[in-house]
Amino acid sequence: MKSDPARPELTREEALELYYYMRLNRSLDELLVRLFRQNKIVGGLYGSLGQEATSIGTAYALGKGDWIAPLIRNVGSVLVRGYKPRDIMTQYMARVTSPTHGKDGTCHFGDLRVHHVVSPISMLGDLIPVMTGVAMAGRYLGQKIVAMTWIGDGGTSTGAFHEGMNLAAVQRAPLVVVLENNQWAYSTPVNRQAPLRDFADRARAYGIASYSVDGNDLVAVLRIAREAVEHARQGDGPVLIEAKTMRMLGHAQHDPAEYVPREMFEYWKARDPLTRFEKYLDQHKLCNEKEKSAIHARIERELAADLEFAENSAFPPPELAEEGVYCEGCHTIEAEWRRSKEALMPPESSVKPEWTIKNFGGMETEAAVVADRPHQHHQEDQQDSVVEPAIAHPPQTDRKRKISAPAPRRARR
């Protein structure tokens, strides 16, 4: 799907909202750096500078009932899901008012009821199977939700990534995985993770749809993310989106990133996602100076109020360390059913416990011939595989829909 450059893809309302999030993400990051330098942050500070469009454009494509699991740099994604700057600040400042009450820091928080955000852990890759489970449970309950999570170029080297992607693929789970290729895993460049030009190619191994997109082009990211979310929601299986972007700071504040060639920073600075989105807004006259100033003023006001809240918040009482290891009646576990439970109970649920085997796997079969030719093995091969009722909900009429992976767009100067 190509966009018409003459016509904006965004409504005015969307454009203004997206600008608010982009600017807020950037300003919050800058504020956190100041707080770090003032020694007000406990532990490390992990920036999202340069990656805002990827976080915001992808999360913005989701609906209200959908679920996300961010990584540490996806501040923009959690803001889009309704968390406030004070939540990030109090997390980084280890205050009792933080979403985890000081039990954890950074973007390591979540909420099952309102925001539908699953907290990340530091071990990369683990979120992929977890969000596969979220997606499968949503389908099981008849909710028609999509689960989205993010992974870095480095995170795709883990076994958990592979196991999760593969399970999602065989289950045709409504999962969108955003692979943020920010060129660096701590100090290790991307070509030491995998010898791939496009990390989207990893999707081929799972027989699922994929895209590569310019991760610093907010409008392109949103367009692709919306398409991917729709694909997943329709029951056509998981999607991998590679967003090419750049981590514009070190791994964390302590890291001056001297291992990154200066020219590389300059290359990407010329492609700054916020500047580019501002240009887009100007070009399409989606936001005048007055509106921009109003957004800036709103952000300044909100950040000041939230900072005051955070700084006036107490540290947690020491005894809190002892609490909450187990759920001892503090939670009621209840699923939100949007389908009849009868279909899941006998006698309606009864099946003949037999596999349906369509081809016998020898070299002379068509599937094997295709598999024998590397690089011509596309997702439609999967259409021949067994699709049981369990993974075909909702029922599909046309399984041949194919999404080709557009070549990564060259950034405009």
Binding site: Y326, V351, A390
Partner: protein, 324 residues
């Protein structure tokens, strides 16, 4: 009342919980069409369908991870490890993701991870292990290891209904070797409660799983010699029922801990520390332990028999301690 094996008790618990609550579903390798490597899930696919009995790829991390994600939406998945040795493949997911979820951000993880554990069946180093202590050392998990068919059924039901992640160890040596009459209808056995299997005044044996039976056999032998042994079956290893252990030691004044797990870092060490902290003055002798050797589980029958504790070794240690 019908006579039911330990294995069938597990299958019954799964079936009855799935009948009771559509939020309960199963995931694992070869559990559906095949009915599981030990047939613990036989007939469940036929009864509950593809959505509730899910055959997965060989991906223990993904099985556990997906179970976690499902539980966040209010489901109660039961994940099978084909052999509990393979739980090591999901170690990170369990110790870092599952165990810390409720503590860090208040998200309960009502899942059960169950599978066949233990030796005595010549399964060699990768199909015989007792890896429970990795997880007993992990706050946030519950670890259950029943010794009888009654407990297996009642504890598995409790595990499924628990709001916390429960690792449910099943001793494969017991699967088809022990059977008992189970009551008709629904019953549960509470997690976290040990049980005195046999009362005695001369010394206490604290044990669990298959070693409960070896210890009872030893106790019978010793009774003929005039030594009355009290046998405490832990049933749950985490949280540990400290009171039952301490109360028993206060009655008998001597403690022998028996486990099939290897010696160093086994739960005997923890129990010894607990008893010396809380009941040192009640002890009339050293705390002793009978355990497996500190080696991997060897394959050849004479080697494995040498590796494992048995009733004779337990009786010998108990006799020594009684005489102390």
């Amino acid at each position: 009342m019908a006579t039911v094996t330990y294995l069938d008790a597990i299958r019954q618990a799964l079936l009855e919980e799935m009948d009771r609550d559509p939020a309960v579903l199963l995931m694992g390798e070869d559990i559906g069409v095949y009915g599981g490597a030990f047939k613990a899930t036989a007939g469940l696919l036929e009864r509950f369908g593809w959505e509730r009995v899910i055959d997965t790829p060989i991906s223990e991390t993904a099985i556990v991870g997906a179970a976690v994600g499902m539980s966040y939406l209010g489901l109660r998945p039961v994940a099978e490890m084909q052999f509990i040795d393979f739980i090591a493949c999901a170690f990170n997911q369990i110790t870092n993701f599952v165990a810390k979820s409720h503590y860090r951000w208040g998200a309960p993880v009502p899942i059960v991870i169950r599978g066949p554990a233990g030796g005595g069946v010549h399964g060699s180093a990768f199909h015989s292990a007792n890896p429970e202590m990795y997880f007993v050392h992990t706050p946030g998990l519950k670890v259950v290891y029943p010794a009888t068919a009654y407990d297996a059924k009642g504890l598995l039901k409790s595990a499924i209904r628990d709001n916390n992640p429960v690792l449910f160890f099943e001793h494969k040596f017991l699967y088809r070797r022990i059977k008992e009459e189970l009551p008709e209808g629904d019953y549960t056995v509470p997690i976290g409660q040990a049980m005195v299997r046999r009362p005695g005044r001369d010394l206490t044996i604290v044990t669990y799983a298959a070693m409960v039976h070896a210890s009872l056999e030893a106790a019978q032998q010793l009774a003929r010699e005039g030594i009355e042994v009290e046998v405490v079956d832990l049933r749950t290893l985490l949280p540990l029922d400290r009171n039952t252990i301490i109360e028993s030691v206060r009655r008998t004044n001597k403690l022998l801990v028996v486990h099939e797990d290897t010696r160093t870092g086994g739960i005997a060490g923890e129990i010894a520390a607990l008893v010396t902290e809380s009941a040192l003055d009640d002890l009339d002798g050293p705390i002793r332990r009978v355990t497996s050797l500190d080696t991997p589980v060897p394959f050849s029958p004479p080697l494995e028999e040498h590796f494992l504790p048995n009733a004779a070794r337990i009786a010998e240690a108990a006799r020594d301690l009684a005489r102390y």
